[in-house]
């Protein structure tokens, strides 16, 4: 597959299949789980309201007809209205989207700044005493749930030291703790991945050549190994996305950060199903697009991946 073809429509088709699959699963689960009218209208809806919802969503019609009507509404981007305030669900989700994007991007940047140097340091001298200690710390951090760590951060920085606000979305100072917390979901895993990548590159024959012609360890690491290892990292950024989104859901709720993660938990609690569905679809689409971009970048910059694709491996 050529890059041009890749830039064209095949990924759009994949995205369409994906969204179609997700919505189909949600549609049938909603019917399997009980009376969808109650889920859509809320637990304490009156009989009149239930009847209205059934008529509005065509729940009194046969299942296949309901399904096609549902798909038709999806094609018109009509995901229903929020039960909380009646505004269109998709609109509500898109309004909360930028706050999540900001937090996710900040956390990703911070995680990279922390993980790349420490991972490289760990791989450069695998048996060093400092590295052993660091590896134990990472092992412990990997076992600490992100929200527990976030609570500890709040305890220390917002309450004991009172340096930073514990909650809310305001000036840059209020960004610090949420960013640190979301990044903490990524840093241990990312560090180990960088370590593994750099370690693998250090075994390559070009490293031996570079050493043989008299390059210092520093030059070998910074000029030869790191660029190659970081290429592999582009693919890993895509894989890290799942952790970021999970982190966003938990941390946004903890800090009352008005993004889609917070909205998802609020809507789940209020049984506001249209909004939950809209958020799920928006997240599916986002994850897919970012993964596609990461793959594209990798193809652009890494000739090995390009050749593998040209031979029809990927």
């Amino acid at each position: 597959m050529k890059i041009k073809a890749f830039l064209g429509f095949s990924w759009l088709r994949d995205l369409a299949v994906l969204l179609f699959g997700t919505t189909t699963v949600l549609f049938f689960l909603l019917r399997l789980a009980g009376d969808p009218a109650i889920v859509i209208a809320g637990q304490d809806a009156s009989d009149a309201q239930l009847a209205e919802v059934r008529a509005q969503y065509g729940l009194d019609r046969p299942l296949p007809l309901q399904y096609f009507a549902y798909l038709g509404r999806l094609l018109r981007l009509d995901l229903g209205n929020s039960l909380a305030d009646g505004t269109p669900a998709l609109e509500k989700v898109l309004a909360a989207y930028p706050a999540s994007l900001l937090l996710g991007a900040l956390a990703m940047a911070l995680a990279l700044v922390l993980a790349v140097p420490s991972g490289t340091w760990l791989a450069a001298r695998p048996a060093g005493a400092g590295q052993r200690v660091a590896r134990w710390i990472i092992f412990m951090l990997q076992g600490t749930p992100g929200f527990v760590l976030a609570l500890l951060l709040v305890q220390v920085f917002a309450i004991k030291l009172a340096w930073l606000p514990a909650i809310g979305f305001g000036d840059a100072r209020s960004w610090v703790l949420p960013t640190l917390s979301v990044a903490s979901f990524l840093v241990p895993k990312l560090t180990r991945m960088v370590e593994a990548n750099v370690g693998a590159e250090l075994q390559a024959s070009y490293v031996r050549t570079a050493r043989a012609i008299g390059a210092t360890e520093r030059e070998v690491l910074l000029r030869h190994v790191l660029p190659n290892a970081l290429l592999g990292l582009i693919a890993l950024v895509g894989a890290q996305l799942a952790f970021i989104v999970t982190g966003l859901v938990i941390i946004e709720t903890l800090f009352a950060w008005p993004g889609i993660g917070w909205l998802l938990v609020q809507s789940t609690m209020n049984l506001d199903f249209p909004v939950v569905q809209a958020i799920t679809l928006v997240i599916v689409a986002t994850v897919f697009v970012i993964n596609t971009i990461a793959e594209l970048l990798q193809r652009r910059f890494d000739p090995r991946v390009r050749q593998a694709t040209a031979r029809g491996v990927a």
Binding site: L18, L26, L29, L30, A33, V39, F139, M140, Q142, G143, T144, P145, G146, F147, V148, L151, L152, V154, Q155, I159, G238, A239, L241, A242, F243, I244, V245, T246, V249, I250, T253, L264, V265, S267, T268, M269, L271, D272, F273, V276, Q277, I279, T280, I283, V284, V287, N291
Partner: protein
Amino acid sequence: MSRSIRASRLGLYAGVALLAVLAVLAAFGPDLTGHDPLFVDLAGRFAAPFGSEHLLGTDQLGRDLLARVLRGLRWSLGVALCATLLAFAIGTTLGLVAARSRSLAGRIIRQVTAFAQSFPVFVLAVSLIAIVGNGFGALVTILGLVTWPVFCRVVQAEAASLLTREYVLAARMLQMSTLRLYTRHVLPGILASLSVLVPFHFADMLIAESALSFLGIGAPLGIATWGNMLQESRSYLVTAPWLMLVPAVAIISLVFAANLFGDGLRRRLGVST
């Protein structure tokens, strides 16, 4: 070399011992404390740990924290274990199907598994809670249903490679039945990599469950679970930090035990993942 082998064995035994102690505590602990985890004693609120008849102190309603954390242990172990088993069963079955089948079903399974690798399944779990509701059975089902691809991916890859081995081809030529082929030749070959996944998955389920409860959408409100305890502790971080520290330490040590066990098992079985 011998040093690292000894270290890994030590980790494995330590993990097993720690898990065994925690399992015994979960089974008998709640009955041995002499306190009801739900008993409210407003006169004895916020008792500090180690100071009174309450070993780990009391919470904002005067409930005994030791009794609550042990009851929470039972809940956490139960949910995480059942969810892991469910994911294991679904993932292994579908993985074996996908390893061999060139049918549409096999293709769909492979596609779903590949996508699930980069998809935040936690989000899916939250949206399923909006549909199905919460509680023990619902949580186990939802967590199992959204995480089976973890097992499926490994089973499918390893089984596919085993199926091309000569001894499997020979067995097939000898007209061995598919069931026998799988139970005698394929499953034993993938058991090592499969069993290493279990403790790590258990740890993930544990974290996921307590995170959901912490967000207020996992365990039903009112019962004693670690997530619920952490959620309630948020209002008292200044005045009574032990309300947060007790369940936090509990989660970290259980996850740590599972990771230690998994890591030791991985090195012992020589599986590289």
